[in-house]
Subunit: 116 residues, 2 copies
């Protein structure tokens, strides 16, 4: 079994358009991260992704499925989502993107209207 997802595993600032690096759409990168530790149910995914509506999460999951990154599995009335090998291979680039963004966050903030 896998432990429950941490409701605060993502920065409030994480679903942000300040990073120029994107994975598919606004939520897909985070969804893949949520699946890193094992398969998850729809409602489990919604916990850390506080502001996502069911419709949007569904669309992202369908797109990830269509592209072979995530597998939807329905077994005896239960649904869950799991990473495929292809999806798992994206974890490296996602880590790299997070590292780049973290390393250059201040510069990104400065550029986008020099607050701070």
């Amino acid at each position: 079994m896998t432990a429950p997802l941490d409701p605060d595993m993502f920065d409030p600032v994480c679903p942000s358009d300040l990073s120029p690096i994107r994975f598919r759409d606004k939520w897909s990168g985070m969804i893949i991260r949520c699946l890193q530790g094992g398969p998850r149910r729809f409602s489990e995914l919604r916990v850390p992704l506080h502001r996502v509506t069911a419709k949007v999460l569904t669309r992202s999951l369908r797109a990830l499925e269509r592209d072979g990154l995530v597998a939807r599995r329905a077994r005896d009335g239960r649904v869950d989502y799991a990473l495929t090998d292809l999806g798992r291979s994206l974890l490296g680039p996602i880590d790299a993107a997070c590292a780049w963004t973290a390393a250059h966050w201040d510069e990104l903030l400065d550029a986008r209207e020099g607050v701070r």
Copy 2:
């Protein structure tokens, strides 16, 4: 001086939505690559980016400028665009994204409607 940009430096398939990794918008990754070897004029950029219209290229460049990745410079009537240090630091992630996409191209194609 820098040599002219190769009109075929990008695959016809390169501006594709098959790769899940994106840099800002459809063209920004390629624009940054074009600027790798030195500053370029607006019309120079249009050569390898065959299908981009002036309006769209302008919008991408403005966004890159706003985010501190590209600098627009107008000197005695001439305009050119150059990478900032921040923009240059994105070349690594862009290379990694291209490598990932190339390595998994077949799987991406297979997933998105199993042609081939």
